[in-house]
Amino acid sequence: MTAAVVFQDLTLGYERLPAVQNLQTEIADGSLTAIVGPNGAGKSTLLKGMTGALAPLAGNVSFEALRRDDIAYLPQQSDIDRSFPLTVMDLVAMGLWREIGPFGRISGRHQDRIASAIATVGLTGFETRPIGSLSGGQMQRTLFARLLLQDARLVLLDEPFAAIDAKTMDDLISVVRRWHGEGRTVLAVLHDAETVSAHFPQTLMLARELVAHGPTEKVLTVENQFRARQKCEACVGPTHTCGRAAA
């Protein structure tokens, strides 16, 4: 099994304050990995470092045979301007960027794929709805539809199931499992231990530095969670910034 992503002594951070320190590990190609850790452990930072939005302070992250548009990234919802006058279909269609770019037209074949992606996430009939009118769950379904069209080898999800209803979560998890089944590499930042154990074979536990990485049942232990919390508190100081456990 080859590695899809290799972290080499990776240090990431904002304004010289490291949020992720000396991360050294590999993500296997085709794996389905959950990234867990206390708040402030640097999970979202790690994803941003992988998209290239954040340059490493030290070390590097390298992708085996992956180009920029082979990576799909789902940010936290707050990064999208929901008031912008776009419809569900507009937003989903942009998942075709790799094929249409800034200038290309959307052909009938593209239309079919858009329709099918929308159907896959259960939003058929919502194509012309403005994104501002969607519920949190519907919005997340829309973004998953866009991810589907991106057809990426590596999928990065930042808290994809936060604040959505159980039904939506089930539907979206089945999308994630489908990606896994198709051999794509999926990394998801999650905070719900139950979801992680139920659906994610691999787990990477982070507390600014690597705590553990491997099969979920070996990583997601009480012992590791305690260590993670301690590490986080030790380096951040005030307990309230990372008081909550990873599970």
Binding site: D90, A93, G104, R105, I106, T128, P130, G132
Partner: protein, 44 residues
Amino acid sequence: MNESGISSIRLLLLGAGPRLAGAALVIAALWAGFFWAIATPGAL
């Protein structure tokens, strides 16, 4: 919010070709207006 207001013009889904064609139409109309404006007045 329902589908009221000006029915949506799906500019985002158009390729550059149709967009440029539309722009060309607008620009042509604009310059036509320009020549109308600088023409010496017919009615005095």
